[in-house]
Structure formats: structure tokens, C-alpha cells
């Protein structure tokens, strides 16, 4: 029998089928949108660069560096993305876990261990030697960078480095008739002399908050004359009596010569206090010098490396910063070209000068601007001292950053508040470091 209208069952089925098409299309559209890929059309390769220390002047400099690179390499474009300074590791970690990493990143030597453990960075040794770079880059920077990795390979370009220095208000010292400091005794007396709490002027600004550990090492281990966190027997040097004594002198600075609010001060707060004229001395790295110059004049700022210990040992804090490429990059050749540009004389000279870093390219170290910068001159002169020893930091240890970053911070603040003794604090963390080192050795045997 021929039906004029379809059977109700068929009509319902057809209606259901038509209605089911809508969510099906919706889901497909969602899936397709999620799989968006970037085709490299018309031969231009686009690289993605993530910066780990986003600040306005640094962004401008980095974009200028990228422009210089793109001019010489017309087939390559670099897209820049800035990550916040205090949480960039979280973002990179998430990207690694989800397989959405970019091509290039700007890590410091202290970041290498965590990234290598996640298998994120590509080793550069073969390309480095194939390009003949070992003759063009300072060998000590290359070695320091290799030492920061758990397997001793080269993972970031070793062409720029930070050095620990102390900045001070040279104009305040002149007004008070005090000489430029050359020893720890000078420092102790001048910091006290410059403090005038009733007018809100303090002699020093201490880093009590986030990231306190690098400054602790800078001020305590230099005074103690110890250049390593693990001695030759593999035991932690944190509870060495010389370190404890130097740490006590450092802790005593709080509230006597610093603002009470420094308990929670991070690097931004410290830098702002110094630039705003609330502090006479600031311990940080040469990378701050360009920033300080934006609000102060050169004759207001004096620079010195932390002073030698009593026995004359000059401990230097050096941290290489550079560029790295991700293992999963789809354009490794082009990414390497960018890395090479940053190590070349043209790229290294611009980038080191703009950022205030020590240049690793040997040809750049002879350029005039290096001699003219007081911060760099102080750092390089200290390095030339025959009793100079670079500080050996165990970045290869996976737990190093969580112990010195997260675990130690609350106890450090208790120490500053006087509720935990320096000896107990250092003993506790010497034990923690020893245990972490033991676990690492057991696991990698």
C-alpha cells in the first residue's frame, strides 16, 4: 500500500535524526576549532618566544632584538609573549604537560634542572660545537651553564650572565662625609649611620619575602668566605659556624637598619624602596642597574660587589641567563638560528648592554660600553681578582628550588621576627639539603 504521508514512526525517526544533526555539528565544530594548526604559508616560518621576566623596558629591548634578527633573516618571524616574573615556571610547566610549548624561551641557569627533568629543553652541545662557538664564548660561562644541568649538557645559550652586586646611594655617603665602602666593617658602620627612622630613611633594605635566598647567599656566604653549598664530603655548608656567624650579622640588619615592612619585601619592593630614596644600600644583581637609572642619575648610584671575607676570599655570584629552544619545536633549525644570533657579537652586544648583563661573547667584552658601565666594571674587576671564587650553587638538585623557595621562606620570616634562632634555622635546612642530596644520589645511581 502506497502511503501519502510517512508512517508516524518514520516521521519521528526523521525528526530525531534532523535534531541529532545539530549537536553533532556543534561538537564537530568544537573539535575542529580545538585542532587549529598554524600553517607556514608562503615560506615564512613563525617562531614563538616566551619571555620569563616581563618588564616594560625588557619587553621593548627584546622586541628590538627580534627586529634586528628578522632583518637579517627575512624568512623567519618571531612572535613574542611575556610571562609574569613570579609565576612563569607554572605557565611553562603547564605548557610542557599539555604539549603546547612554544619554540623559544628565556630561562636562567636556575630553571634548567626543572625543565630538563620534564624533558622540555633541547640540548645544544652538538650545534654549539658545530658552529665553532666554543672559541667565541667565555669558557667559564659555558662551564657554569653546563654545571647547572643534571646531565652536564648545554641547554641555554651561555652568552649573558648576571652578577651579584650591592648598589648604594653615593650622594648620601658624600653628604654624610663617609667614604665609599670597601669592606664589611665599612658596610656595617655606614648602613647604621645612614639610618634615620624618624624621617623614613633606612640604611638597608633586606629581602624578607619571596626570593629571599639569592640575596641571603649573596650577603652571607660572601662574608663567610664559603663558595659552595656542599663541601668536599658532600655535606651541606649551611650550618658551618662561619655561615651561622655571617647569617646572624645579616639578620641583625632587620629593623635596626631596615623598614619593618621589609619582612615581606620581594625584589620589586626592594628596588622601589632604593629608587624612591627610602634605602641607602640594596643587594641585587647588575640587571637592576638599567632600571635604577630610569629614576636616578648615575652619580647617585654606587656599585660594588659584596666584599671579601676575612681571609681574603672573594666569592662571586654568577648566574647565566640566556635563550633556549624546546625539544618539541617544529622548527629547530630556525630556532637555532635565533639562538646563534643572540650569541653573535651584534646580538650579544645589544642584548647585554640593554639588559645590563655581563656579555659572554669574547669580542663584546672588549667593547667600550662594557668598561664604561660601573656595574659591569665592578663585576668584571672582581672576577679578575686572583682570590675570586665563583659561587657553586646546586641547581642540578631537583628539590633545591622547592627547599629554598617554598620551605625556607616561612621559617626565614620567623627568624627575622626573632621567633626562630639563626642556628636552628640553618641546622634544620642543612639537614633538609643533605637528605635531598641523598635522595638524588640514590635515585640516579
Amino acid at each position: 500500500m502506497m502511503r501519502e504521508t510517512p508512517h508516524p514512526r518514520t516521521r519521528t525517526r526523521r525528526r530525531a535524526a534532523r535534531l541529532a544533526v545539530i549537536p553533532a555539528i556543534g561538537l564537530t565544530a568544537l573539535l575542529v576549532a580545538g585542532c587549529a594548526t598554524g600553517p607556514s604559508d608562503d615560506g615564512v616560518v613563525t617562531l614563538e618566544l616566551w619571555d620569563t621576566d616581563t618588564r616594560p623596558e625588557r619587553t621593548a629591548n627584546l622586541e628590538k632584538l627580534i627586529d634586528m634578527f628578522e632583518k637579517e633573516n627575512p624568512g623567519i618571524k618571531v612572535d613574542y609573549l611575556g610571562l609574569p616574573t613570579d609565576s612563569y615556571m607554572q605557565k611553562i610547566g603547564t605548557a610542557v604537560a599539555t604539549g603546547s610549548t612554544p619554540d623559544l624561551v628565556t630561562p636562567k641557569a636556575s630553571d634548567i634542572s626543572a625543565l630538563v627533568a620534564q624533558g622540555a629543553l633541547a640540548p645544544l652541545d652538538d650545534r654549539f660545537s658545530a658552529g665553532g662557538w666554543q672559541d667565541q664564548i667565555d669558557a667559564s660561562l659555558v662551564q657554569t651553564t653546563r654545571d647547572a644541568a643534571p646531565d652536564g649538557k648545554l641547554y641555554i645559550t651561555p652568552a649573558t650572565a648576571l652578577a651579584d652586586v650591592m648598589f648604594y646611594r653615593a650622594d648620601w655617603l658624600r653628604d654624610a662625609g663617609l667614604p665609599e665602602p670597601t669592606s664589611w666593617d665599612d658596610f656595617d658602620s655606614e648602613v647604621a649611620a645612614l639610618t634615620d627612622a624618624s624621617t623614613g630613611r633606612f640604611g638597608y633594605t633586606i629581602r624578607g619575602g619571596n626570593g629571599f635566598w639569592p640575596q641571603f647567599m649573596e650577603m652571607v656566604f660572601t662574608r663567610a668566605g664559603i663558595a659552595t653549598l656542599f663541601d668536599e664530603n658532600g655535606k651541606s655548608t649551611l650550618d658551618d659556624p662561619r655561615v651561622v656567624e655571617a647569617a646572624q650579622k645579616y639578620v641583625d640588619l632587620y629593623k635596626t637598619t631596615t623598614a619593618e615592612s621589609d619582612l615581606t619585601a620581594d625584589f620589586k619592593v626592594m628596588q622601589a624602596q632604593f629608587a624612591a630614596g627610602s634605602a641607602g644600600f640594596l643587594s641585587h644583581s647588575i640587571g637592576s642597574y638599567p632600571t635604577l637609572l630610569q629614576s636616578m642619575t648615575p652619580d647617585q648610584i654606587g656599585v660594588t660587589v659584596p666584599f671579601p671575607a676575612e681571609d681574603g676570599t672573594q666569592v662571586l655570584g654568577l648566574l647565566t641567563t640566556g635563550f633556549a629552544m624546546f625539544q618539541s619545536s617544529k622548527h629547530p633549525e630556525e630556532a637555532w638560528k635565533f639562538l646563534e644570533f643572540t650569541m653573535s657579537q651584534e646580538g650579544d652586544s645589544f642584548w647585554a648592554q640593554a639588559s645590563g648583563y655581563i656579555p659572554g661573547n669574547i669580542a663584546v667584552a672588549d667593547e667600550q660600553w662594557v668598561q664604561d658601565s660601573p656595574a659591569l666594571a665592578a663585576a668584571i674587576a672582581a672576577g679578575a681578582n686572583e682570590k675570586a671564587v665563583p659561587m657553586n650553587v646546586p641547581y642540578y638538585l631537583p628539590e633545591y628550588s622547592s627547599i629554598t623557595g617554598t620551605d625556607m621562606l616561612p621559617d626565614w620570616q620567623l627568624v627575622l621576627q626573632g621567633e626562630l634562632s639563626v642556628q636552628d634555622f640553618l641546622t634544620k635546612y642543612a639537614t633538609a639539603m643533605n637528605e635531598a642530596q641523598q635522595r638524588y644520589e640514590d635515585a640516579t645511581k
Binding site: 535534531l19 541529532a20 549537536p23 634542572s113 627612622a197 623598614a259 619593618e260 615581606t264 621559617d411
Partner: protein
Amino acid sequence: MTASATPASRRRTRSTAWYPYVLIGPAAALVVIFLVYPVASVFYYSLQRYNVTMPFYNGFVGLGNFIEIAQDAKFWRSLGFTLQWVVVEVGLQFVFGLILALLINRAFRGRGIVRALVFSPWAVAGILTTTIWLLIYNPTTGFGHYLADLGLVPYGTSLLSGSGTAFWAAVLAELWKGAPFFAILILADLQSISLELYESADVDGAGRLRKFVSITWPHIRSAVVIATLLRAVWEFNNVDLLYTLTGGGPAGSTTTLPLYVAQTAITDRDFGYGSALTIVAFVILIVFTVVYLRANRFGRENA
């Protein structure tokens, strides 16, 4: 055709039985992808030791993480502080929210604008809230500096840098943001109270307190109960304010349990232990919610 009528109708029911499932399919898929899978993976990782920077150390540990939590002094301290934070915050927000609602319930000129202003702190994003309060508490640019100029406090001090005062500084910031939530919910119910009730209470000679207890409170009770529950859960889970304002406070004095989870899982990348901590927080909140709603006889008509 009675013999074939029954099979046909039975067949029709069977063939269209899948129809509703197709319609809810996409929604169900989204729920599974964005709710069930993440929660299940948290349960999975809570039974593992999983730190992405120490891959040689990862592995199944069963209930090992939970045993470690029971012995973790930092966990107990953060739990205690979280309870203190929730009780103080929700209590103060309720009191100030109620006062605000009662105040703006009366008719006066400009009431519309005042209501919008009262509600505006709630509309401000969390990060903006902390930025505003960080500037207020900043020793160089904030109130502290002006008070020091007047000689009331020493220079270079800040409420945020004292272990005891940091808590109240954070409480104030969150109170500013959270009280409007209570105010608006209570206000909605207050508006529904008929004025005749108050007039007849006046005729009967009822005082202010009596009017509040017998007329106002029963009307707003269910709104208060649900608002308190919501705010308690949200304050328990509050991370953004404490993370940005105090970072867990000087010497860990303002670390709540969720903040401890964030430090463990995201900063230290120890996802196994962080997942176990999250499970503990989840269980606590579920138990609290059930008990709380039961105790308030929520959903049943007012006795």
C-alpha cells in the same frame, strides 16, 4: 487489526526510546569531560607520588599521601587557620551585610545610586581588589605613609608585615568585597515583606527587636542560610585574595588549606601530595554542606 496494534505501539516505544538520550548526549559529554574526568584524575593522582621535576621518584603509594597528611604539621596549621578565616569572614560579612541591607531598605533620595555603590565591591574582579588593597597597605604609598607623616606610626611599617595584623588586613579586604553579597540577597527578601505586618506590629506595641525577630528574620532566614553556606564554601576555597595579598602571610600565618595546595602542587610541582590535600578539603566541604543543610532544615517549609 488488533493483533498487530500492540506490537506496533511497542515497537514505536522502543524505537523512540533513544531519542531523549541523544538530546542530552552533548551536555552529558561536556559534564564528563570537564567535571568527571578532572575529579577522577585528582583521585587517581592522590594515590601516587607524582612530582614532574623528580620523575625518578614517581610511583604508586596507595594511601601513603594521606598518612603523610595526618602527620603534616603544616596541614593541621593551615586547616586550623582556614576554619578561623571562614568563621571570622562569614560572620563579619553576615553582620555587615545585614546592617547594609537594613539601612538601604528604607526609601530615601538617591537610593538607587547608593544601592549600586553598595554592590560595586562585589563586582570588582579579585585581582583588582588585591591591587587596590596592596596600594592602601603599601608602606611607601599607602595609608601607612600618611599616618607616619602625622607621627602616629613609625615609618616603614605595614599591616601586612606583622604576623598578627596581616590576618586582619586580609579580613578587611575580603570583608569589603564579600559583605555586598549578603546585603543584596537579604535585601531581595526584605523587599518582599509587606509593610502591613510592621504596621500591625506597631499597633500591638512591638519593639524594634521584637519586630526584627518575629517579622524580618523568618522572611530572610532561607536567604541567609543559603548565602552563609555559599560564602563559607567560597571563603574556604578562597585562594586569589590571600595568594596575591600575603602569599600565605609572613611566616605562613595566613596560609589556608587551598593556598597550601596551590603552593604544593603548582609551585613545588608535587601533584601527588597536592591532589591528596585537595581530596581532604573536598571531603570536609561535602560533610559540612550536608550537615549544615540538614541542621537548618533547608527546603522544608518554615516550622
